[in-house]
Amino acid sequence: MPQLVSVIIPTYNYGRFIAEALRSVLVQTHPPSEIIVIDDGSTDDTGEVVAPFSEQVKYIRQENAGVCAARNRGVAESKGELVAFLDADDIWEPTKLEKQVAKFAADSRIGLVHCGMREFDDETGETIRVHLDGGEEGVAENLLLWEGPVIVGPGGTVMVSRKAFDEVGGFDERMKVGEDWDLCYRIARRFKVGFVAEALVNYRSHGAAAHHSVENMERGMTIFYEKAFVDPSVSHLRRRAYGNFYKVMAGSYFHARNYRKFASHAVRSIWLRPSNLGYFLAFPLRRYRK
């Protein structure tokens, strides 16, 4: 049974949150074998905040290189057979590692285990949403198609086996958005996925949370698709995947009040997947109801 878990915490200017994150790791019922903080060139007090934890935490500082590079560096510096990622502004429940390790132990073909997530308001502490709709079967296809249950909050809930991480080559450092979606897809293509249907991660919703423009998201996901469809065995899903992707993008552009891009993506979506027409026809009605 794999027991050794390395916890990787990439951080950039989250000095005000990271102590709480670290405390939530230190009280785990299945204690990790090592905790590695990769400080991605923070300009705040992160170093001082982490200093009192120096006995339990390995602190590595690097020049700012982005979250993917920080996570890859963390994995390279670690030794555990299992690797769990934690964002410095999130908080784990005490049984998070224990329950995910148990999933790995139950089936040696599993390469990734994710779990439910509770989104809370940083100012008041109120619960905003509970995400429990994660998948185990067919996750890779769902990730490609934006259909059905996928990976819950990929950045903060996943634990991967070192074997799976190394085999797919870690995070793609070219990507700024969607890198977690991409890694999960590549692992889910080759390994089984496990899901703990319980909110074991508390996801902090705050103004400074990596807030990406829709354009950046589109760029990131386009890289993801370009890579995914190199594989001919999924080429039959291409139209459906892009059709759904443009549908989601159209919605995001509408939300961002970019109505020109909304229209062009809606047209592309319907062209690729005519059945999406219904979605767009009902669009004004849904907006009105909200």
């Binding site: 109120e126 429990l132 849904r286």
Partner: protein, 320 residues
């Protein structure tokens, strides 16, 4: 350190977390100080109020323990108050609630003394207007059982009327600061796993409905917290078998309750989603009329047709 006035009786610790409710605070304090029960250890923690609260507390001098602290939120404040006190029985009284009459504490304490196997006892409450005018008592409770409370997803325990054995905190933990609306409800759920909870048929407190009342004003925002509370609860591995046996029905009812919250907050989209989720948890639920009614309510409750037909059947509904 609190000294008992009557060493033969247990002490009740009452903690009042006070945050910017100076208008109501005096009523709360007076209702505690005027109790006829001898051993009451009273602590008021001013959670960084910016109104008259500190001045009012200063007026009382050393008649009870009080302290002004930097704002940390209601739940952590109550936990802190419990942590620095010693009473064998504990409770908290929010700064807009009061004990009902002089004998309220005695009623609860006598019950716990006479029934050593009971962990929490609670009575009813009286809703009042902001100015203290009585409206009506809380819904009558018939044959309270913990199982029924979990199953129906109703918080039937009126918090300011509840008296809690301190040992429960050691066993199941403090109030959980992750809860903003339902820290009491979550605590009852955990306590009920190991301790008996019983109801006394008496009004022991008042519950003030006013513009800032958390649960009244913000029902829509409470919905996701309810869902979180139930999923977290049933993920525990120490749930008694008779509760575990009704998990699916309980989750269904949670969806209906939370759908109702969304609806009251005007969010018809999420109310409908919760209604659909309800029958995913317990598909057989569809065959009971009461559940279908709840389902339709979540789906259509805000529509004029539904309201009109309900008015025809039941007469006009109160608006508070």
């Amino acid at each position: 350190m609190y000294e008992k006035k009557d060493p033969s009786l247990p002490t009740l610790t009452v903690v009042t977390p006070a945050y910017n409710q100076a208008d109501f605070l005096r009523d709360t304090i007076e209702s505690v100080l005027s109790q006829d029960y001898p051993n009451i250890e009273y602590v008021v923690l001013d959670d960084g109020s910016t109104d008259d609260t500190p001045r009012i507390l200063a007026e009382y001098g050393d008649r009870f323990v009080w302290e002004s602290q930097k704002n940390m939120g209601q739940t952590p404040t109550i936990n802190k108050g419990w942590g620095q006190t010693r009473g064998e029985i504990i409770t908290w009284l929010n700064s807009d609630d009061t004990f009902y009459d002089r004998g309220s504490v005695s009623t609860g304490m006598e019950y716990l003394t006479a029934n050593p196997d009971v962990g929490i006892v609670f009575g009813d409450s009286m809703f009042t207007e902001a100015d203290g005018t009585e409206i009506e008592p809380t819904r009558p409770i018939v044959d309270f059982t913990f199982k029924k409370m979990v199953l129906n997803c109703e918080n039937s325990i009126s918090q300011p009327s509840a008296f809690i054995r301190r040992e429960i905190v050691a066993k199941v933990g403090d109030l959980d600061p992750k809860f903003y609306y339902f820290m009491d409800w979550d605590f009852w759920l955990r306590a009920g796993i190991y301790y008996k909870i019983e109801h006394i048929d008496a009004i022991l407190s008042t519950y003030r409905l006013h513009a800032d009342s958390k649960t009244v004003a913000q029902s829509k925002k409470a919905a996701p917290e309810l869902e979180y509370m139930y999923q977290k609860y049933f993920a525990r591995d120490d749930i008694p078998a008779e509760i575990r046996a009704v998990e699916k029905q309980a989750m269904m009812n949670m969806c209906f309750t939370s759908g109702g919250y969304y609806l009251k907050g005007g969010d018809t989209v999420n109310a409908g989603k919760m209604a659909a989720k309800a029958f995913e948890h317990y598909p057989k639920g569809k065959y009971a009329f009461a559940n279908l009614h709840k389902y339709l309510y979540c789906r259509l409750g805000n529509s004029p047709i539904y309201r009109k037909s309900r008015e025809l059947v039941r007469g006009p509904q109160p608006t508070y």
